[in-house]
């Protein structure tokens, strides 16, 4: 089973492969366990380094978009800037204000960070084609081959908000509390749309296993083509879930100082940062896996597992770039607009999407899969049109402005 990634598949010499492989009867050998731990450590470090690089990328890209240059002094192109930042965070004084709830204040950054790191266990980062029962099937490689991978990620990612909400509450400061409260409210509003946007994917692939979803996409077509609406809503909801602009209400530095991490300093603050970037990476990986075929790219992935890693990384990097790109384009939503979008727009749309997709599958009308995108986009347009009609009176032009001097008094 290639889904079980031992070090053997990393192309090492046979003797090394033997040390890290399972016993002949399939039970876990000592070397196999060590190999697994090494792979886990590798993945965790990849995420941590990616998070650090994201900080650099965010600063550079935002600078480019604002006609600036950005950090370019530490190392080539400023690539070592995250290291310098880390050094700064390490040696800064770790201030714990006197008015905080010490226990929760201390564990809140950890609660925020750990879920972000462990969600990566089920993300398939590459794979290969294998012949199973006479058919060529795309088999994904991941650390843990979980049959309920999608649910696992959604469940664990939902835990991260406790770190933010508790951090805000334990800080015992108005700004932090408001940030924490907003985080929890936003989380609930968007987790629903997020989950419902995944349902059509699961329905079409017929599995909750991320590897099997990729296999389905490799066999048929990428789900972004058959489920564009679900893709779009999932992408938008994941922006809200990771507290990124235009939905960064918990942080919103223009109104709440720094939101939930106002009172945090030193590495505690850095951990919140790390959690945000790790969450972004998970969201990007999830969008890639669910809607863009993961490590597949129109047959290019057959060149080997290294190509799969490259394709997967490039897709993830594109979505990470999109996170930054959107951040510097779309201004922050107002709180009521945020709630309106989540409950009034996205929730009905995702429900319609689920019903239409389920109907197409139940009737076994696969040709409808090609009609679905059109239908769904039409549904979205009709919904917008209804809203436009409803609000029409709000946008009626006012009576011609009175002449100067006749301005109304109130």
């Amino acid at each position: 089973m290639m889904g079980v990634l031992g070090t053997a598949q990393l192309g090492m010499a046979p003797i090394v492969a033997h040390i890290f492989s399972k016993n002949d009867d399939g039970s876990a050998s000592f070397g196999w366990v060590i190999g697994r731990i090494l792979v886990v450590l590798l993945m965790v470090h990849v995420i941590l380094i990616l998070g650090a690089l994201m900080v650099w990328a965010e600063r550079r890209v935002s600078a480019w978009m604002q006609d600036r240059i950005g950090p370019n002094r530490v190392g080539p192109q400023g690539l070592l800037q995250p290291l310098a930042d880390l050094g700064k965070f390490m040696f800064k004084e770790d201030v714990i204000p006197g008015h905080v709830n010490k226990v929760m204040y201390t564990i809140a950054p950890l609660i925020a960070t750990i879920p972000a790191l462990i969600t990566f266990a089920v993300v398939p980062f590459t794979g290969s084609y294998e012949t199973v029962g006479g058919e060529s099937v795309a088999v994904s490689w991941q650390i843990a081959d979980l049959n309920i991978g999608v649910l696992y990620i959604l469940a664990i990612a939902g835990i991260g908000v406790y770190g933010i909400a508790l951090g805000g509450w334990a800080s015992n400061s108005k700004y932090s509390l408001l940030g924490g409260v907003r985080a929890s409210a936003q989380m609930i509003s968007y987790e629903l749309s997020l989950g419902l946007a995944v349902v059509p994917v699961v329905l079409m692939a017929g599995s909750l296993n991320l590897g099997e979803i990729i296999a389905y996409q490799a066999e048929n077509t990428w789900l972004i083509f058959t489920q564009p609406l679900a893709f779009f809503i999932f992408l938008t909801a994941s922006y809200a879930e990771t507290n990124r602009l235009p939905f960064d209400m918990p942080e919103s530095e223009t109104e709440l100082v720094a939101g939930y991490h106002t009172e945090f300093s030193s590495m505690k603050f850095a951990l919140f940062f790390l959690a945000e970037y790790a969450n972004m990476t998970v969201a990007a990986a999830l969008v890639t896996t669910l809607y863009l075929g993961g490590w597949t790219f129109f047959g290019l992935e057959t060149l080997g597992w290294g190509m799969g890693v490259l394709i997967f990384s490039l897709k993830v990097i594109f979505f990470l770039f999109a996170f930054i790109w959107v951040r510097w384009t779309i201004p922050r939503f107002r709180y009521d607009q945020l709630m309106n979008l989540g409950w009034v727009v996205f929730l009905p749309l995702t429900l319609i999407n689920v019903v239409l997709t389920a109907g197409a599958i139940a009737l076994d009308q696969t040709w409808m899969f090609f009609l679905l995108p059109v239908l769904l986009i039409a549904a979205a347009c009709v919904a917008t049109w209804i809203g436009w009609k409803r609000d029409e009176d709000k946008f009626q032009p006012l009576p011609t402005a009175p002449a100067a001097g006749e301005e109304g008094h109130a």
């Binding site: 929760m104 979980l146 049959n147 309920i148 649910l151 696992y152 959604l154 469940a155 664990i156 939902g158 835990i159 908000v161 406790y162 909400a165 508790l166 509450w169 509390l177 924490g180 409260v181 929890s184 409210a185 989380m187 609930i188 987790e191 629903l192 989950g195 909750l208």
Partner: protein, 172 residues
């Protein structure tokens, strides 16, 4: 191994539940309740019910307790206020409810233990296709237990309507 894990997760659930009801601070209570859900999810995993475990964390720990936390934060309950209110005025109703619950659940349990296949061994599980997958649970929920499922839905709908009527002072 399974037994050890069961004891660890079961113990975690029990201790967290105990701490959740004894904490003075409502936020701490809520956090221990989340710990309890995780312990319960762990128990489900030990029982090879991965789907139920994931849904447990997703729905209860991920959504419902976040909502609880949100409400507690908004209400800003202080431990002092709770102390001033003192113990519940009419503990008799609480005791009555507890007794009713124990009797009802005990009755249901005693009734079920007798039926064959309540504690399925490996062979019976294979025959029933109880592999803890989403498919098995879906088939069971929307086949064998459809009526119970729908009745539960109506019960929840009633709860929602009740909440709306309680919060809206005047229905227009």
């Amino acid at each position: 191994m399974t037994t050890v894990l069961f004891i660890v997760f079961g113990g975690m659930a029990l201790v967290s539940a105990l701490l959740a009801v004894t904490r003075q601070n409502p936020i701490a209570s809520a956090i221990w309740l989340v710990g309890m859900f995780f312990g319960l999810a762990g128990v489900y995993v030990v029982l090879e019910a991965y789907f139920v475990a994931a849904v447990q964390v997703l729905v209860y720990a991920g959504a419902i307790m976040v909502l609880f936390l949100f409400v507690i934060m908004l209400l800003d309950l202080r431990t002092k206020q709770l102390d001033e209110e003192g113990p519940p005025k009419m503990p008799i109703w609480g005791v009555l409810a507890a007794v009713l619950f124990i009797v009802a659940s005990g009755w249901a349990l005693m009734d079920a233990v007798g039926t064959p296949g309540f504690f399925p061994d490996a062979e019976e599980r294979a025959a029933l296709e109880l592999d803890g997958s989403a498919k098995a649970i879906g088939a069971d929920l929307f086949g064998r237990w459809l009526l119970a499922f729908e009745v539960t839905s109506i019960l929840l709908l009633g709860g929602i309507l009740g909440a709306v009527i309680l919060t809206k002072r005047r229905l227009t």
